[in-house]
């Protein structure tokens, strides 16, 4: 048969190779992405203890209703939402400003890009350790803030006060990722054709009008992308908060959802409850991703 219709067999052979090339990756994702998420969904319906040998009890949505009534869970949600809002809004604003300012310079563009990006290269553990030392009562944090506000000798309790410790984690995260999002904005800016600005110049537009009526509207897709990406990242934050609590900061104000999942599973051995929290986190993030896909599709810009 293969001799009679040669093209058919070549197509079949090619199709087979397509499957062979894709197979390892597909098997991997089935084992390490799809199975675990279904497993988490399944486990979240049981009262299951880590290391316990007796079969878990099926309790339906018991874990979820427990969580929705648990003040500890709502504290985590609050900590996560506050952290996400408090971090992604400054990230968005400053990375946009940095990108526009850098692109407006004729020289040192590369230097600033590399300088701003460099904290993103450090591991988040290193970042947290450096800032823990800066936030020491005798450290640089107090020295800088006192210098700026002209209040010599005051301890701002960066790690002790429950409001300040939240601000501190936001500052660390902002410091680490602002350069990363600046680069993404720069790519977005670079894709706006120069001819549009030239046309506007002929029409008598100044820099400010250029920014307001050309740059900002055309950057809308990038802005949406950066907001969603930074929000998703902030929702998953773990390292900074973990290191801060290890370094002596109070847990309650920065007990973000990932930290709570970790503690619930590893310290309290409540696998079922931790899985329910994981599923809630998953659903929240899926909603955001869905919004990202929707908005980025609707905002396709062609020049």
């Amino acid at each position: 048969m293969s001799q009679r219709i040669p093209t058919y067999s070549i197509e079949r052979k090619k199709a087979r190779w397509g499957w062979i090339f894709v197979a390892p990756t597909l098997i991997f994702f089935s084992l390490f992405s799809f199975y675990p998420i279904f497993n988490a969904l399944y486990t979240s319906l049981f009262k299951k203890k880590l290391l316990s040998l007796k079969p878990p009890d099926f309790i339906g949505l018991g874990n979820y209703s427990y969580l929705l009534k648990s003040p500890d869970f709502w504290d985590s949600m609050r900590a996560t939402v506050v952290f996400t809002l408090g971090t992604f809004i400054p990230l968005l604003i400053f990375s946009l400003i940095f990108a526009i300012f850098i692109m407006s310079r004729k020289r040192f563009q590369n230097f600033f890009q590399i300088a701003y990006y460099s904290p993103a290269v450090l591991s988040s553990v290193v970042a947290a350790v450096i800032w823990l030392l800066i936030f020491d009562p005798r450290g640089l944090g107090n020295q800088w803030l006192n210098l700026m506000m002209n209040t010599p000798g005051i301890d701002h309790k960066w790690l002790a006060n429950s409001v300040m410790v939240q601000m501190s984690t936001m500052l660390v995260y902002f410091w680490k990722y602002v350069g990363y999002f600046t680069i993404i904005f720069i790519v977005g800016l670079a894709s706006i054709p120069q001819s549009i600005y030239e046309a506007a110049k002929i029409d008598g537009a100044n820099d400010w009008k250029n920014f307001w009526y050309i740059t900002l509207p055309l950057l809308k897709p990038t802005t949406i992308l950066v907001s969603i990406m930074s929000m998703l990242q902030c929702l998953k934050t773990f390292s900074t908060q973990y290191l801060f609590t290890q370094g002596g900061a109070p847990l309650a104000p920065i007990n973000v959802i990932t930290l709570n999942i970790y503690h619930t599973a590893i310290r309290d051995h409540q696998i079922g409850r931790a899985s329910a929290m994981s599923i809630i986190l998953f659903v929240i993030m899926m909603l955001f991703t869905w919004v990202q896909f929707k908005t980025s599709r609707a905002d396709e810009i062609s020049y």
Binding site: Y35, Y116, G247
Partner: protein, 291 residues
């Protein structure tokens, strides 16, 4: 007429000069804010602990207090386990980079250049895994690794990260524009599909491969959460875990702490400054993900 025009021009010049100075000042101040903590880490790593927390901070160390580095590498218990932990990080991150590149390239090639039934579904399934955050599946993954008995081992550290959807997407996008004629010509010359992949596709995708390898390596160098779950023994710890442990120990002084942090950062910073275009390009690639 020309006189008033001159004045107006001067005014505009002065205005733009002020804006210019403002922008430069802003950029330089921001750069100082961003670079200061990194500089702080390196200078503090060369100072005795007493000097680090003295006000005001001396940005230039009086001398080089190398004992911090010795103390950091030796560890508080003198076991030199940090060297082993650095090696672990290198092994884990390198193996994961290699498997990610190979599997992503294979899958990306298969999806870009072969027509088979269900290809669109396969692609969608792979992309869908991007929506599953690792933090949501870490507990089931942890249970699987304990069931398989690979916790506290390289296999356990590596297994969940062999390949990722972003890599597949990146490689597919890269291959999709590759001319089919070249592949067909090779087939007519009798090359097998694997040979085509090895001798034509891979050598022609160095930039994409390098970007993916570097981004993957960096992400793994940074990984804290998963090692925290699967590693129990000191011997299997990676750099982030050593830092967490070292920080929590009573006898750790600030200088040695910064030395440990500096040791963890120097290799990745050198790679970054040498290959910054791949890092910056990588960030840019993420933004093309929406397409």
């Amino acid at each position: 007429m020309s006189y008033t025009l001159q004045i107006k021009k001067n005014k505009i010049n002065r205005q733009s000069l002020i804006i210019d100075i403002f922008i430069w000042g802003f950029l330089v101040l921001a750069a100082l804010f961003i670079l200061a903590p990194i500089l702080f880490m390196f200078t503090a790593s060369l100072m005795p602990a007493n000097d680090i927390l003295k006000m005001p901070y001396r940005w230039i160390p009086k001398g080089f207090y190398w004992q911090n580095y010795w103390q950091g590498i030796r560890g508080n218990d003198g076991s030199f386990i940090y060297i082993r932990n650095i090696l672990n990080s290198l092994i884990v991150a390198s193996v994961i980079s290699a498997t990610t590149v190979i599997l992503s390239a294979l899958a990306g090639f298969g999806l870009a250049k072969y027509y088979f039934k269900g290809r669109a579904v396969v692609f969608m399934l792979i992309m869908a895994t991007m929506m599953i955050p690792f933090e949501a599946i870490m507990i089931p993954l942890y249970l699987v690794t304990t069931k398989l008995g690979i916790q506290d081992s390289y296999a356990g550290l590596i297994a969940p990260f062999l390949v990722n959807a972003f890599g597949v997407f990146l490689m597919r996008q890269y291959f999709i524009t590759f001319p089919d004629e070249i592949l067909d010509a090779a087939r007519i010359d009798g090359a097998s599909e694997l040979m085509i992949f090895r001798t034509i596709i891979l050598p022609n995708s160095i930039p994409a491969v390098a970007t993916l390898a570097i981004l993957t390596f960096k992400a793994q160098w940074d990984n804290l959460l998963w090692p925290l779950l699967v590693v129990q023994s000191e011997e299997m710890k990676t750099i982030p875990l050593y830092i967490v442990k070292f920080m929590a120990e009573k006898h750790t002084d600030e200088g040695a702490m910064m030395a440990v942090a500096a040791i963890a950062s120097i290799p990745i910073l050198i790679v970054f400054f040498k290959l910054s275009k791949y890092f910056l390009g990588g960030a840019a690639l993420y933004s093309s993900r929406k397409g």
